[in-house]
Structure formats: C-alpha cells, structure tokens
Amino acid sequence: MDIVVLVKQVPDTESLVQIAGDGVSIKKEEIKWVMNPYDELAVEEALRIREAKGGSVTVVSVGPQKAQETIRTALAMGADKGLHVHDPLAEGSDALATAKLLAAAVKGLAFDLIICGQRGVDEDNYQVGAAVAEFLNIPQISLVNKAEVLDGRIRCHRVVEGGTVVVEAPLPALFTTQRGLNEPRYASLPGIMKAKKKPLEVKTVAELGLDPAAVGAAGRKVLIQALRLPPERKAVRMIRAETPAATAAELVRILHTEAKLI
C-alpha cells in the first residue's frame, strides 16, 4: 500500500489570531505553527495501515518554507518521505487552487490511498480533500472515524449527523479524518533524528506543470474583502439568587419573557 497524506501547517488552536494592517490577512509573526490536528490523525492512520500491510507513506504539503517543519514532524512520526510544494507563485492560494497544486503533486507519485484532514483549523474550508479527489478522478469518503483496508478496497465508517454510515470504495481512493479515528503518536527523539535524513523533495508550480494564473493569489476565486473580529456579546448578566430554585426561576424568566426562547 502506497499512501499519500496531505498535511497543512496551521496556527496552534490556542493562538491569538490578529488581523494584519492590510485588513485582509492575519499577522503571522507571533503565531505558533503546528500540524493541523486532523492531519495528525491522517498521518497516524497511514502509519498504522503501512505497519499492517507494508508499503510507504509520503506526506505532501503546499506552503511557505516554514511548512517544512510540519513535513518533518510527519517524517519524525514515521512517514517515509516528503514532498513540499513551495513557490512564491503558490502563495495566497485559496482552497481550490491549493487542491490543484496538491492534485498535480500527487499525480507524480504512486499511490493507492490518500488520507487528509476533514478541515484545516485555519480557514475552516472543509474543501481540499473533496477537490483533490475530484481532480484525480477518484472516489472520496469524508469524516471517517474507522477505516479498514480490504482486498483492493477501503471500507470506512463515516460519522454523519444522526449516525454512522459504512461506505466502501475501490482503491485508489481518498478519505478525510474525523476525531475518534485514532490517537496520533508523538514523534520520538530517535524519530526526530531519523527524520532529518529522510528524503524531502521540493517542487515549484512550473515543475508541476500548472498554469501560474490558476494558482496562488492570482488564481483565487474566493476573494477576501475584509477580515473583522466577531461581533461582541454584551457583558454577561450574572444571576445571583439565594437558592438554586430561585436561580433557576430567574433564568427561566429571562429565557421566557425576555429572550422568548422558552
């Protein structure tokens, strides 16, 4: 089984995200960058499948120089090799353009299975996995919390609203991860040492054979007009009553007569 994992570097979920002076981007300097949590699940799942079935795990990422840290983290967890799409022409890509870059990069690799996150916790686009599968013309199964590789097929449990659906697709296929799939391992110290020597290839937009006008800021179809902070809530109103019963009565009064929610 040759498995490709798509990994993205994103701000740590604890990060304070601030709007930059241009009003349409975020301040990148003070942020702690980490592997997207859903991609950790993807790397872990790929490693487990390789451990059971043999084969290889290749991690692919589109991003700035810094994104190599995330590829190295995946290599330290145990992935075999990395591919970094790094090019100023790719900068500022939206989800669709990112998927074009990733699909072009993956096309040059041998693969039976692609695993990626259901969403990046940066822009929360929920989009790249499906688009990569479309561009590669392979089936996709999203929101997977259990995957089994069968003979030439993959069987996935998808968590949807109101239940779980078990879906099968012939390989090659792509699936996206959901929490519950596994508990990602940490990179061990020997793993980190080994990762430094693992192959990491870098490719440009031209090397991928893509039209520069279709990717990067130039290729964006979703144009950010403005970033702003979410609307502020009014200051919290604390209920201070003598007894739990009186507290409850006051809450229900507020919700019934003022907010008209009950």
Binding site: T13, E14, L16, V17, I26, P37, A95, L96, D122, D124, N125, Y126, Q127, A130, A131, A133, E134, F135, P139, Q140, S142, L143, R155, R158, V160, E161, G162, G163, T164, V165, V166, V167, E168, A173, Q178, R179, G180, R220, K221, V222, L223, I224, Q225, R228, L229, P230, R233, V236, R237, M238, I239, A245, T247, A248, A249, L251, L255, H256, L261, I262
Partner: protein, 321 residues
C-alpha cells in the same frame, strides 16, 4: 450567461432536513435581490412528493432527481446526478447547507465546476448585484467577508443560522432523467440513531456538559428533554468516554449554532468556544466564578450543576404546562 439561483436541499428517509428550508429561504432572498429565478433541487429515491412541500418557501421551479441510486448519500452518485441535471441551467449562484453531506457535495461540485466556494457562511448580503458572504474562520476568532469570482458562486450556509420564510409559489416541477454516470462507492451499512432524538446541528436548544458533570449527564438529558433540545459535550467529556465523539462541540468536533446553548460544567476553552460561539444566547453554569466561559456567555450562574440544573428542568416544565 450564468443565470438564476439554485438551492440544493437535503432530505433523509423522504423528509426534508431543516436546513433545506433555510437554504431555499435564503436562496429566495438572493434571487429577489438579483431579480432572477430560484430553482430548488430535491435529490433522493422516492422523493417526488417533496416537490410540493418545498414550493412553499419560494422556489419558482423544483428539479427532482429521483433514482434508486440516490437513496443513500454517496459523493460520486450525488455529484454526478446534480452536475448533469444543472448543466443546462448554468446557474449564477448555488446555495446548499453546510451539513456533513452538504459540505462534502459542495466541495466536490465546486471542483468539478472550477468554481469558488464560500463554506459555512453565517450571512449573505447582496448589493448592486454583488454577493458578499460572511464566514467564520480560525474557529470563529475571525470573520471574513468574501466575494466569489466567476460562476457559479457556490455558497454553503451554516445550519440553524438563516431565517426560514414561507413564500407560497406554484412552482414548475421537473423530473429530468437522472444520469448517475460512473459510481464507485457503495453504502454497505447504516447505523442511525433511533428514538426521535433531536440532531445536534439542527437543535434549537443544546444543553452541553463538560468535565464538571463527572460523567453524570442525567440532569442534562432531563433539561434537554424539557426544552426539546439535544445534548452536547466538551472534548474532555468525550475523552473520558462519557459521551460519543459525535456529541463533541468545538474546533475538533461539531460546529453548532442553536438559539440557546447551555454550558454546564464547561470551563470555556478556546477550542470549545470555536464550536458554539455563533449560538444566539449562551448560558453558562459553573461553580468557578472565574471560569473563562463567563466572558463569552450572555447569562451566567455560579453554582453546582447538580443543584441548579434539576431546578431549571422543573421550572421549565412548570412554565410549559
């Protein structure tokens, strides 16, 4: 020339999900602002009867894709069927619900159309023919106002946010032959929750519990039942094995937007807030007056959930009877 608005609805077992009324209502508002027609798309097997129901929300035309191959959602079958049916329409705008199914379908279709997609939008404004969508990013820490270049503009709407509006029309119902193309995925099994529970992302009221419940969700279940709502959980409660992963609200769980969110014994970590900050009214109950959740709540109660929550249930039942 791209023209018209298309609203893709979602049904399960022959009944519309609530988000369908929201997308058709919002589709109507967009179509009015653009002075064009609204076509609602109904997809499934044995769903012809649904065409009548959706007219009442303002569709000028209803396109029914009825085929046994569309009985269960499969990305390839749905994407192929919808793309083929919409090809002659060349819509300017496609709206869809940002549900598990809608997000998956929207992303696949947008790639096929080489179209821009604004995912999980909480507001749509049309001015002078230009559409601006608002979407939370970074777990709701930042809101982005975006426009989409080209056609169709694909807009996925966060469930439970857009108002539902009845605008009676008598729509033209079309049932074109369904072209499924090559379908590779199969649904081999379905394990759906039974017992008529309200689904988390559709619920008007969510009572959510965290580590402070100590694993006893009984009083929260009771309050949710009294309010006709659903029960959610923090990641800690899920990690403890007290609740299913699908109940988790937050950055690595469900994103919900109920009218009322009651957080019980939840500290209010940033990753939890990411999943519920667009709720209309937030109530927090926590015994620690310093808990960060109070900074994000509309109404706060410092107290023990095991003392307060049962009293709230009793008070709710009293007012409802």
């Amino acid at each position: 020339m791209a023209n018209g608005v298309v609203a893709i609805t979602e049904q399960r077992d022959g009944a519309f999900r609530k988000v369908s009324y929201e997308v058709v209502s919002e589709g109507r508002r967009i179509a009015d602002a653009l002075s064009c027609n609204l076509t609602a798309v109904v997809v499934g097997s044995g769903v012809e009867a649904l065409a009548g129901e959706i007219q009442a929300f303002g569709a000028d035309a209803v396109l029914v894709l009825d085929d046994p191959g569309l009985a269960d959602y499969r990305t390839d079958a749905y994407a192929n069927g919808v793309a083929a049916a919409l090809a002659p329409h060349a819509p300017a705008v496609v709206v869809i619900g940002a549900t598990a199914q809608g997000k998956d379908l929207a992303a696949r279709l947008a790639a096929r159309w080489d179209a821009g997609l604004a995912m999980d939008c909480t507001a749509v404004a049309v001015q002078g023919g230009a559409i601006t969508c608002t979407r939370p990013m970074f777990g709701g820490k930042i809101f982005a106002d975006v426009t989409i270049k080209g056609a169709p503009q694909v807009i996925a709407l966060r469930p439970n946010v857009m108002p539902i509006q009845r605008v009676a029309r008598s729509a033209v119902v079309e049932t074109p032959p369904v072209q499924l193309g090559s379908v590779k995925t199969t649904v081999v099994e379905k394990q759906m929750d039974t017992g008529g529970k309200v689904e988390l992302t559709e619920a008007e009221v969510i009572v959510s519990g965290g580590r402070g419940t100590g694993g006893n969700f009984g009083p929260l279940e009771e309050l949710a039942a009294a309010l006709g709502g659903a029960v959610g959980a923090s990641r800690s409660a899920v990690d403890e094995g007290w609740r299913k992963h699908s109940d988790q609200v937050g950055q690595t769980g469900r994103v919900v937007s109920p009218a009322l969110y009651i957080a019980c014994g939840i500290s209010g970590a940033i990753q939890h807030l990411a999943g519920m900050s667009t709720s209309k009214v937030i109530v927090a109950i926590n015994k620690d007056a310093e808990a960060p959740i109070f900074a994000k709540a509309d109404v706060g109660i410092v107290g023990d959930i095991f003392q307060v929550v049962p009293e709230i249930s009793a008070a709710v039942r009293k007012i409802k009877s």
